[in-house]
């Protein structure tokens, strides 16, 4: 999903990494976990020649022009001095690794980088813990209650990112926000006109709540779908052995859903780390640039401060960090493949 973005309802792509390359016959996305389709059948029908290349050419071409080329341009830009002056006169000034050395020697960059990493880590840990908990709960609920909770989760999941950011700003409004009312009702003082966006930290806490709220449904509902694939006899065996709930989780549920946990954690890391709309639209990276994460930092450096070259370098560093996470993930996938 997406969505994507986030977090959001950007749901399509997620199934992809699960089916590693090379595995050709996998059930279609529509098939629920229960109806695993026919066993792999040998690939037949092979009139090759140029036809396959003609068929994939448009896709490859458009990805090359609109994805690969911008990526390469990004790298090139990051080696240029491209500030307001060069931007207007359109001259090209090469500065080698200056943007990188400046950034890496700059305290601000490290502040934002560390903030991004910590923010992502806390977020993903919370999302996974809460999502898993709710997934387990869904599995133990009666039919009606399960439907009620699933529907609620579904609504949170489906909210478009920008709409949910807007709603959260309203919930945490200084004067008329329901959050301040709730705090007062619960007996906390000082929440008459509390400004939740007063510091970068508190702004990020609101963003965190938003991201957790929007991401947990994905984990919980998929976790539940995964749980339904585990046969009840395993639980019964565990119970006969006198295992506690906690023990059962680690002995039965976790090993069975290991790849689910891996893939979901990985996807959440990527989504949260590069989340832009949620952070930027919440408070424009403010106050005082205090809630900037790396993608927002790059945007504000570039567009707000006219440091396009530096911004490109920031985005390259962000991509490098993402690639580090991804390569770790691809290694895991490959290892899983070998074990099978």
């Amino acid at each position: 999903m997406t969505v994507d973005s986030q977090g959001t309802a950007t749901a399509g792509p997620q199934d992809a990494p699960g089916r590693a390359a090379g595995k050709s016959q996998t059930p279609p996305p529509s098939s629920g976990p229960k109806e695993v389709l026919q066993p792999p059948r040998g690939r037949r029908s092979l009139p090759s020649g140029v036809l396959p290349y003609l068929l994939v050419a448009p896709a490859l071409l458009s990805m090359a022009v609109l994805l690969l080329y911008p990526l390469i341009r990004n790298v090139i830009l990051s080696f240029q001095q491209l500030n307001r002056k060069e931007f207007i006169t359109r001259e090209t000034v090469w500065t080698g690794f200056d943007n990188y050395t400046d950034l890496l020697g700059d305290g601000d960059f490290w502040t934002v980088a560390v903030r991004s990493v910590v923010f992502t880590a806390v977020n993903v840990a919370l999302i996974m813990a809460i999502g898993t908990g709710i997934g387990l709960l869904l599995n133990r609920l009666g039919k009606k209650m399960r439907l009620v909770l699933s529907l609620a989760l579904m609504f949170a999941w489906a909210m478009p990112i920008v709409a949910s950011v807007t709603v959260f700003r309203w919930l945490f409004d200084e004067q008329f926000g329901v959050a301040n009312w709730l705090m007062r009702t619960l007996g906390f003082s000082g929440y008459d006109q509390h400004n939740w966006f007063e510091t970068g930290f508190s702004t990020l806490v609101i963003v965190l709540i938003l991201l957790v709220w929007g991401s947990v449904p994905f984990v919980a509902l998929n976790m539940y779908a995964g749980l339904t694939t585990i046969g009840t006899e395993l639980y019964e065996a565990a119970k006969m052995d006198g295992a506690s709930g906690w023990r059962t989780f680690w002995a039965v549920v976790f090993p069975n859903l290991r790849s689910f946990f891996m893939i979901t954690t990985f996807l959440e890391i990527i989504w949260i780390f590069k989340a832009f709309a949620q952070v930027y639209a919440m408070n424009l990276g403010g106050p005082d640039r205090g809630s900037e994460t790396l993608p927002v930092f790059a945007y504000i450096e570039g567009v707000g401060q006219f440091h396009y070259g530096v911004a490109a370098a920031i985005s390259i560093l962000t991509i490098v960090m993402l690639i580090a996470v991804m390569s770790f993930y691809f290694r895991l996938i490959l290892k899983e493949e070998e074990e099978l």
């Binding site: 950007t10 695993v36 709409a163 694939t229 590069k274 490109a312």
Partner: protein, 278 residues
């Protein structure tokens, strides 16, 4: 776990917990919708009003804003254009990947997988420079093309799964009955792909509808913006008229909520089919 006979207390706690969670998760959505129906004076209260006489005046304000219908048109053009283009291009590619044997097939599968993870949010600067050089800033076609490539990889990926699930025998049978390969595809496979095409295009729709970073960077002229930007600029558009803002958010979210609830079973099942089996 579930096999243990629940104690009554445990059962109550379980259901109560679930109910609280349900309320927590639905609340922001409910609050958006209910606020959108509140008259101005019921919005501007320190203590929230839960019972009120609904009014549609906020929707009037939200849709009455300058250029509203331009934003709607732009949003629909960009989204539908991107998805339609992606479907056509992806159908060809995924058919080749799923059905044909050729050199470099695995490489292409790998490229598609990696492209799915493209950090678009981070590439806005380069995209801006490229667009500027080619006079494509504030251009609806350019935005459509970008969204098209954004949704292309997962469109290929999901369609590939759907095509692979159609038994080859059906195609062969059609060919034995005298169809050409192309006809076999059109008459046999294509109809069977309908659900697949539908759910992939809906996912694409949601992605494009949601996009924010690119349009924020590339389309600064009001006439070329979409509902996404319109919504983030509510502060300037409506002052601090939260009723109208919530009406706008509701209008923006509604298509997606409907679409999503409509395909939720596919969504959940589809995403885990690969992941959970391990």
């Amino acid at each position: 776990m579930r096999t243990r006979k629940p104690l009554t207390v445990a059962a109550v706690a379980k259901n109560l917990g679930a109910l609280v969670l349900a309320v927590v998760f639905i609340f922001p959505v409910y609050w958006m919708f209910s606020s959108s129906l509140k008259p101005q004076h019921e919005i501007m209260t320190k203590d929230p009003v839960f019972v009120f006489k609904p009014t549609f005046e906020n929707y009037g304000t939200a849709t009455g804003v300058d250029l509203f219908w331009t934003y709607v048109t732009n949003s629909l053009t960009v989204t539908i254009g991107a998805v339609a283009l992606a479907l056509v291009v992806a159908l060809a590619a995924s058919f080749a990947i799923a059905r044909l044997k050729f050199k470099g097939r695995k490489g292409i599968v790998l490229i598609v997988m990696m492209a799915q993870m493209a950090p678009w949010e981070v590439m806005v600067i380069a995209m801006y420079m490229i667009s500027r050089e080619n006079d494509l800033l504030n251009s609806i076609p350019m935005l459509t093309l970008i969204y098209f490539v954004m949704v292309l990889p997962f469109t290929i990926w999901t369609l590939r799964g759907f095509i692979a699930a159609v038994p080859v025998e059906l195609e062969e049978a059609a060919q034995i009955d005298g169809c050409t390969r192309g006809q076999a595809f059109r008459k046999v496979i294509f109809p069977l792909l309908a659900p697949g095409l539908m759910s992939t295009s809906l996912f694409g729709f949601i992605t494009a509808w949601n996009e924010f970073a690119m349009i924020l960077m590339l389309n600064k002229e009001k006439e070329s913006q979409t509902l996404t930007l319109w919504l983030t600029q509510f502060q300037t558009a409506f002052g601090s008229d939260w009723g109208a803002t919530m009406a706008a958010s509701t209008l923006f979210a509604l298509p997606v909520l409907i679409v999503f609830l409509f395909l939720q079973r596919k969504a959940v099942g589809g995403m885990t089919a690969g992941a959970v089996k391990g």
